[in-house]
Subunit: 499 residues, 2 copies
């Protein structure tokens, strides 16, 4: 079996890789060749060592190879994909447990171009075409339906949301691209929470509720926890449009990836020429030698001219660095937050809500606050997706803690939305971003003070260490598109310095 075929056997096509499969197994995806051979122990050499085989690291690796550089990729988990993962369904097939949706190519040009380059197609998420049913809003005990992005159930609240949106977009337009800390009002906006801004700038409970829900769904954190500047930077990085962040049609949730989002990483891995070593967490990076850098990992040591660290900053913090990193970077590593949540896909024999005229999309002031149709094209089963476990729930209810209670609470909520049929799913598939051994969490919800203090450090090269990962992107930070952009930026940095 040739190496490319071996890779395909493990990662290609359907790529059924369990999220929690990090058990240190050796996998036939390293330089020593195929089969379940023992882990390599020798030294590897390359121009560039990439740490982290998520979308950002693998994109960086691909771009480096395209520029004629040799690359070794090291990955702690026994799978590629990072915060994207295809989880198996009991009855066959799979569903995304992490990052899933992409926007139109006019907005998320980086990830869309990469997908096209890899021969990966996208398709419209359900609920945008005519006849795909009504969205549902539950607010203060009353139900209403709507289509598109604009819930009309509370007109005053909606108007309040829209005036806030107009002001936020105006404020976001003052943010220079990728340098939020240089905005004229950066200090002001980074010194207050979103919640505080809402108290003095919004007029209705309904408007505050809608805005809070959007913030929660786009960051896995509450307005109470977040810097206003952080969110304005997200808007600026999304083409200046708040709608782009939360919308399905012509927004960041418009499309899905054929074969699942992890397939981007699987395809990137398939096309790599150099070694990709799985189940090999990096213990440290030594750049005390003036002409090279040495990376120690569980399964091999890599000597390279440059290193690209494509990890969430909390995961990057777990590596030892020699010499010590600059103090600013050390403090960034110590204090960069992570968002933690479960992504639940509830699987039913059919998408029964469609027969009742519902699209499956719900916004609600009762738990679980949001749901959407996440069924797979050509598959008879019906899937509803929702999220549990941001600080939001932690601070207010015990349901996060225990799996059975969590699932029961979600099913009860879905039954409130769609009736008792929702109580009898085939299964519930959880993407668990709280308890991953090698992934700190799913997002980076920044508190006040973080962006003006650490923003300009997060992507700043330190000698031979370059930083990728969606947290370092200037646009679409925290999205897959940002991951691609960050990987490409890091590859450009490296190649410019090596030519």
């Amino acid at each position: 079996m040739k190496r490319r075929e071996l890779i395909k056997a493990v990662l290609g096509g359907a790529a059924l890789v369990p999220l929690t499969g990090c058990n240190g197994d050796s996998r036939p995806l390293d330089s020593s060749g195929g089969g379940n051979t023992p882990p390599p122990t020798g030294d590897l050499r390359a121009d560039v060592c990439v740490i982290g085989a998520g979308i950002s690291g693998l994109t960086a690796a691909r771009r480096c190879e395209q520029k004629g550089l040799s690359v070794v990729v090291l990955e702690a988990n026994d799978r590629v994909g990072g915060r994207t993962v295809n989880l198996p369904l009991a009855g066959g097939g799979f569903i995304e447990g992490g990052g899933e949706w992409v926007g139109p190519s006019s907005q998320q040009s980086a990830v869309r171009a990469l997908a096209a380059e890899l021969g990966i197609e996208t398709y419209l998420a359900y609920g945008q075409a005519a006849g795909e049913g009504n969205n549902l809003m539950l607010y203060r005990g009353s139900r209403s339906t709507f289509t598109g992005e604009i819930p009309l159930g509370d007109p005053a609240g909606l108007a309040d949301l829209l005036q806030a949106q107009t002001r936020w977009e105006q404020m976001a337009s003052e943010i220079p691209e990728g340098r939020a800390w240089d905005a004229p009002n950066a200090h002001l906006w980074d010194s207050m929470t979103i919640w505080e801004w809402m108290q003095t700038n919004m007029l209705t409970d309904g408007g505050k509720w809608l805005l809070s829900l959007i913030v929660l769904l786009t960051t896995a954190a509450r307005p109470e926890d977040l810097s206003l500047l952080f969110y304005l930077e997200m808007i600026a990085g999304a083409g200046g449009s708040f709608t782009n962040l939360y919308a399905k049609a012509n927004g960041a949730q418009e499309r899905r990836i054929s074969g699942g989002s992890q397939r981007i990483s699987s395809r990137l891995a398939e096309e790599l020429t150099g070694p990709l070593v799985l189940s090999s967490p990096v213990s440290g990076i030594d750049q005390s030698n003036p002409s090279s850098v040495s990376v120690a990992s569980r399964r091999c040591r890599v000597t390279a001219k440059r290193v690209i660290v494509a990890l969430h900053p909390q995961d990057a913090a777990r590596l030892a660095y020699a010499p010590l990193l600059p103090i600013e970077r050390q403090m960034l590593h110590k204090n960069w937050p992570t968002g933690c949540a479960y992504k639940l896909n509830v699987v039913y024999p059919t998408p029964f809500w469609r027969a009742d005229g519902y699209s499956g999309m719900v916004i609600s002031d009762v738990f679980p606050y949001f749901a959407d149709d996440n069924s797979l094209p050509g598959d008879p089963r019906g899937l509803l997706v929702c999220f549990v476990g941001a600080q939001h729930e932690l601070s207010s209810r015990g349901i996060v803690e225990d799996k059975a209670s969590r699932h029961a609470a979600v099913l009860n909520g879905l039954a409130t939305f769609f009736g008792p049929k929702a109580l009898a799913p085939l299964e519930i598939v959880e993407g668990n971003w709280i308890e991953q051994p090698w992934i700190a969490g799913c997002e980076s919800p920044l508190q006040p003070g973080m962006l003006t203090t650490f923003g300009k450090s997060v992507a700043a090269r330190i000698d031979r260490i370059h930083w990728a990962g969606t947290e370092t992107a200037g646009q679409w930070k925290a999205y897959m598109d940002g991951a691609v952009r960050a990987g490409e930026r890091a590859a450009n940095e490296v190649s410019m310095l090596m030519s």
Copy 2:
């Protein structure tokens, strides 16, 4: 040599232990007995295993032994003391590189009672007695002097500070002891930064500057970074008086520890009966066995009935836990912040500022913003103490980064305060709380949202694991007094459950 004498040789009396001495050396302070014998490898058994030999862990160990329980203490560093450390001076003697001051026994009764119990004396910090000179204030280019705590150089600013203080103390009085998240306005106050409160509730630049400086000095963070509730909780935990936090006379900086603050831990260690194993970082805690808990550390494995983890939450986060910790605790571990700073003691042949009528205490709007006389009684040398490296400086200047620039900037500042003699120190002794391998940082400056989300988890026992450390204290959190209280509370929990 008997064990007690061995311990004394290493830790007793002058206790000259370098802050950065964590090199994994074996030390004659473990169960295997004296000399530089190889590390023990066998199993140890005890009623209680304490992790962390700072003030909190060692207090917990002492109290457990006093209740008749057997104890093993494990410590990652090659010294005791945690965030208190006596650093050697080049010409002999030593100075504190970390926690240093204690308040009157009417306020900080826990640490004062423990010190008395250990036969440790305290003395008044310099500058409180008649004839010990004037404090100095530099603000907007003008110099003024004052005595006591009340700078009169900007009367309007002072009045503004005092009205803010009155309101904060009123607000703090609404906080139930040790349960800030249950205050009627907890959500409101935890959803805004101190900075935001200041903008709408203070009237003068001078007042805001004074308040910001006090916040910085008491938390190692800026008003921009901090939850208002977090600071109100500090005031509530300091007897309800803001002055108690920042004052020297009748406040938290009133007194110093004879022999240096690390001596509290050295004396606690001396009097322990059970083993104290240094240089033995814990890798994990396994409580999957229903009747005992197993603690794996570099030098030994401990089987105990209960464990007390007396570490900063970021350090506790580095241990592996089986079974996994509850999700709330995992997220706390991932997102609990740390303050990082250098504490600089600048050593001169004499306290030359005294001859000019100065006490050595400075508050200033030019770097380093604060200084104080930190000379040692009976020693001819003069010491000035100041702090560098909170996010404050990181966000605004490059001086934190490089040691030479940092020292030059501090000396220039001191020369601005006290004249050119300040440019010629004998040495500068740094307490470095940024780059410690086993200590995350010096404080826990909580951002908005943290306290209401995680406050009630931080001290909550998880099966056989109990949590100590000053972060878990209900009063004088972040102070040595809080560390003692937390250790005593954890020991009480353990003994109640074991009796």
